[in-house]
């Protein structure tokens, strides 16, 4: 019962938040009749693709490939990491990974979506060339929308220009 009461209180607070969102002087012809939320979408589950899953080991525990400014080619220092994942995935054909491409915050947002995609595709192509099957790979680009680190300096930018290899359970 206590749980129910808590749930009710939580629900009511949610209503409170929702109704507080529009001020009383809102124009009737402009006020949303309902507030939309994207959070209830079934696919929107932050735990759906946790990278806690997947193989361990010195190279395989490295799941991030970094890139130079405005570039999408895999640097020499990342080739061995990508190769290790390729070997593992080729040996485990039921294992799927998601390649999340990212850009640093400079420049236009939609263009950066393109840059993130280019990086994700570069890693995808490298994996395909090394024997991974297409069905094991999916890509998504977040552009500059999901930075790994906050800040406006070269060090931060370098951390944000990346592809994350995410093992799907």
């Amino acid at each position: 019962m206590k749980h129910l009461a808590t749930t009710a209180a939580l629900f009511a607070s949610l209503l409170l938040i929702a109704s507080c969102s529009s001020k009383p002087e809102t124009l009737p012809e402009q006020a949303p009749q309902q507030q939309s939320t994207a959070d209830t979408a079934p696919a929107d589950d932050a735990n759906a693709t946790t990278d806690a899953a997947g193989p361990s080991g010195e190279l395989l525990s490295k799941r991030i490939v970094y890139f130079d400014f405005d570039r999408a080619d895999i640097r020499a220092d990342s080739q061995t990491v990508v190769a290790a994942h390729a070997r593992y995935l080729a040996a485990n054909p039921t294992q799927k990974v998601r390649l999340e491409g990212h850009a640093d915050e400079r420049g236009s947002r939609e263009y950066n979506i393109g840059l993130g995609e280019r990086r994700g595709q570069a890693v995808r192509r490298a994996l395909l060339l090394q024997g991974v099957a297409e069905v094991q790979l999916s890509t998504v680009s977040y552009g500059e929308e999901r930075p790994a680190a906050a800040g406006s300096d070269e060090q931060t930018y370098a951390l944000n220009r990346r592809v994350e290899i995410i093992y799907i359970r």
């Binding site: 209180a9 507030q35 420049g107 263009y111 995808r124």
Partner: protein, 439 residues
Amino acid sequence: MPHKIERMKKLAAFLLLATFGCANPVFAQLKLTITQGVTDPIPIAVVPFARAVPADGGVDVAAIVQRDLESSGRFKGMARTDMLTTPTTSAEVDIAGWKQQRNDYVVVGRLTALANGDVAIDAELVNVLTGQRLLGQKWTVQPRNLRNGAHRVADAIYEKILGVRGAFATRIAYVSVDGKPPAQRYQLIVADADGENPRIILNSQQPLMSPAWSADGDWLAYVSFERRVSAVYVQQVRTGQRRMVSARAGINGAPAWSPDGKKLALTLSGSNGNLDVYLLDLTTQQLTRLTDDAGIDTEAVFTADGSAIYFTSDRSGNPQVYRLGLGANERPRRVTFTGSYNARPRISPDGKQLAVLTLDEGAYRIGVQDIATGTMQILSKGRQDESPSFAPNGAMVILAGRERGQGVLQTISIDGQTSFRLNADAGEVREPVWGPFLP
């Protein structure tokens, strides 16, 4: 058990009741600061309007009018404490007295409660140099729309004096982001052009980006990652009703409405990762490819007559803006040549200017290019400015900049002379888009 349920109901009822009492929204509220005005702003006295108590709900119409006019950077309002009289009709205006206090114009007005519950706003504009009454107009609004009524008064005064339609009674949409990466919350918000009256259109724990207004101001298109991949949605602002219109494999991005509201230009990559611009017919769902190039083609925007699009492409090796006529057998034509980075084009309402994100001396700034001559003028002064969007009267551009690591909104007049800033009290705000004139 029943008594516990009863208690629960009471608790819920209490919390529900509490919702009606809350005055402040729980998200970032924008605060307008005038950062730069013209050197000789026009002196104007906006005298407090005669109130309609209690119908006006305490809304200070004259204060809103004065703030609007000052936010344009073209006007300097007289301080109320300096006003010797407070006339509410033009007949009561002591022309010589106001002139002696160095005003060029005086605005007077009064609110009247009507029998049907509406409030009438009567406003008059007097030129104290000539003694001429330039404007006498009445607006009838519901009490809750008094702010909007005040913006319409400011629009009329602005137009009467400057000869350009005011854009104070318009809206902006923007994205608000809260929290430290990677745990961030995103909101799509619609507010009045002065940042007031904000309303949440969408909440998400995944990125929201690229809002775009339909030409009639009824709909917003945007990109949401709520399914953990990008998808394009259209949403009716008034009802909140929304619809996913593109969730194809790969990228679904950069939506732009055709002027008739029937089509969307958008960016798709397919599974091979090659970004190109497509045209989606919202009625038939028919998809037409507009560009076909191995580079990144994105950020399309229609010309006002819908006969062409401008878009960003890095087919030349770095991002530049191209124009593509939508007639038969037309080819993209490059239009930006100043510097190594020009992206996110937006066309002025008169079709004569192109606002772009440009790399200027190592800084990302907003430039405005004259389409006929190709001359680029740098408008903003930040290091990481982005997302330019024209006001519907073409007089101002709203853009996003960074201040102490936080995203803030800023408007700059097209001649670069005046600007104001919209700071959020919490979190950061980005991707402002200025909506059209409202009927």
